[in-house]
């Protein structure tokens, strides 16, 4: 079974040369640390920066240079700052190639729920609804089951949706899955995890064709 870093490492392999990538808060943020350094990738943050670099050295933090998680960051050569309208032009206009974000639930038709639990405090969707409604290529990074052990890969989402029919791929602590017309297609197993265990943990339709290889999380 993968930990969060393992999930991030596996997703990092989906990041291709020349991609502009938007990373959500949580596991997705970790992905930046594991992208191969022999490819060219630029990270966009929807608060208005393209070409994000690592966190600043202590003492070099700038309150005017943060990411969407409100963390202090740095920029790399070739970076740019822009306003919120232009930022979402990049997103809505499909100029961002890959969006990686967390989820509470994903349905076998590609629906995603990740912003609201009725009865609990709602913090808001931030840029997630714009991202999922626009991106051609959305990868969800999440645990396969919730804290109660219930599957997060469902026939239909039970929580209020963030977007409809938009998720293309899911990487969990147990598996890599593709969203197809017929359901979740199992692509890879996490090291040491059996197909049976994945079946067990998946409420939605699971498509298993042939031998399912084990993931390689190393670049």
């Amino acid at each position: 079974m993968l930990d969060k870093i393992g999930i991030a490492k596996r997703i990092a392999k989906e990041v291709k040369n020349g991609y502009y990538v938007n990373l959500g808060i949580g596991i997705p943020t970790l992905v930046a640390n594991y992208v191969r350094n022999d490819i060219e990738v630029e990270f966009q943050s929807e608060n208005g920066v393209l070409g994000m670099g690592p966190f600043p050295f202590e003492g070099e933090e700038d309150a005017d240079v943060i990411n969407a998680g409100k963390q202090t960051i740095t920029t790399l050569p070739g970076a740019s700052f822009f306003d919120s309208a232009i930022s979402f032009s990049m997103i809505r206009g499909k100029h961002v190639d890959l969006t990686i974000l967390g989820a509470m639930e994903v349905a076998e038709n590609g629906d995603i729920a990740n912003w609201k639990i009725p009865g609990r405090l709602v913090k808001g969707m931030g840029g997630a609804m714009d991202l999922v409604a626009s991106a051609e290529n959305i990868i969800v990074a999440m645990m396969h089951t919730n804290k109660a052990g219930e599957s997060k890969l469902l026939k239909r989402c039970s929580l209020p949706l963030t977007g409809v029919g938009c998720v293309k791929k899911i990487v969990t602590n147990l598996a890599v899955l593709e969203v197809t017309d017929k359901g979740f297609k199992l692509l890879e197993r996490a090291p040491g995890i059996s197909v049976e265990a994945i079946k067990e943990a998946t409420e939605g339709t699971l498509i298993i064709e042939g031998d399912i290889p084990e993931m390689d999380i190393n670049n």
Partner: protein
């Protein structure tokens, strides 16, 4: 040159009354109009409807207005990080309308640019689109979202001049430019009000025509919400 300079925040906020709708720039605590918010607190303005991406933290940003129960309604995309906000929302004291961040930006920009409404894919099929008109273009579904109508826009820039021209810094730019000219009166506060002719006309982020009043702010705290650093090797 049409002079937009006012002497101070008192003059800049003249005409602000209870129950107005105002846009407030900033993302998190970055690029927020600290002086205008402090003055709204000082004036004790009540019943505010605030259009702002976030709602500050308990003791800073719009949180200062929430503490004093001066905000009636928030229109935002993300309102975490604020206990008092949570309390008021759950108790029903505070009305909260959550909308997608890109929609928030573009409803401001629509007001600035004279568009009545826009079609955005964001929120289609979700509760955000409930009761709203939807429409298909080229096989994709969009939601009709209307331009905001606001009385005041409070924005914060890095540098500005008496003509109202503004330059922002880094990610403190965020929603500030799209709110300029999106309300009846745009009040810009700047860290540095520079002499006319100092700013390169080619490098102005917001031309002065979108700004009605400008003043140099004081004592910017520029608080950092999440201080993240890396170790030196």
């Amino acid at each position: 040159m049409i002079n937009k300079k006012v002497a101070n925040v008192e003059e800049a906020l003249k005409g602000v009354t209870d129950n107005i709708t105002c846009m407030v720039g900033g993302f998190g605590l970055s690029g927020i109009p600290e002086n205008a918010i402090a003055q709204l607190v000082k004036l004790g303005i009540k019943g505010l409807t605030c259009i702002s991406n976030n709602a500050g933290v308990d003791d800073f940003g719009l949180g200062l207005l929430l503490q004093k129960h001066q905000i009636k309604k928030m229109i935002s995309s993300y309102v975490g990080e604020n206990d008092e906000f949570e309390r008021q929302m759950l108790s029903g004291e505070l009305d909260v309308e959550l909308i997608p961040q890109g929609t928030l930006a573009e409803r401001c920009r629509a007001a600035q640019a004279g568009f009545p409404a826009i079609y955005t894919p964001a929120g289609y099929g979700t509760e955000v689109a409930e009761g709203k008109e939807t429409r298909e273009f080229d096989g994709k579904m969009y939601v009709l979202e209307h331009a905001f109508k606001a009385d005041f826009a409070f924005v914060k820039a890095w540098k500005g001049d008496a003509a109202g021209n503004l330059i922002f810094k880094g990610t403190a730019r965020n929603f500030n430019p799209v709110m300029c000219g999106a309300a009846k009166i745009t009040v810009a506060e700047v860290e540095e009000l520079v002499p006319l002719g100092t700013l390169d006309p080619n490098q102005i982020h917001i031309p002065g025509i979108f700004v009605q009043r400008i003043f140099q702010g004081n004592h910017y705290e520029k608080r950092i919400e999440q201080r993240t650093v890396r170790q030196r090797n």
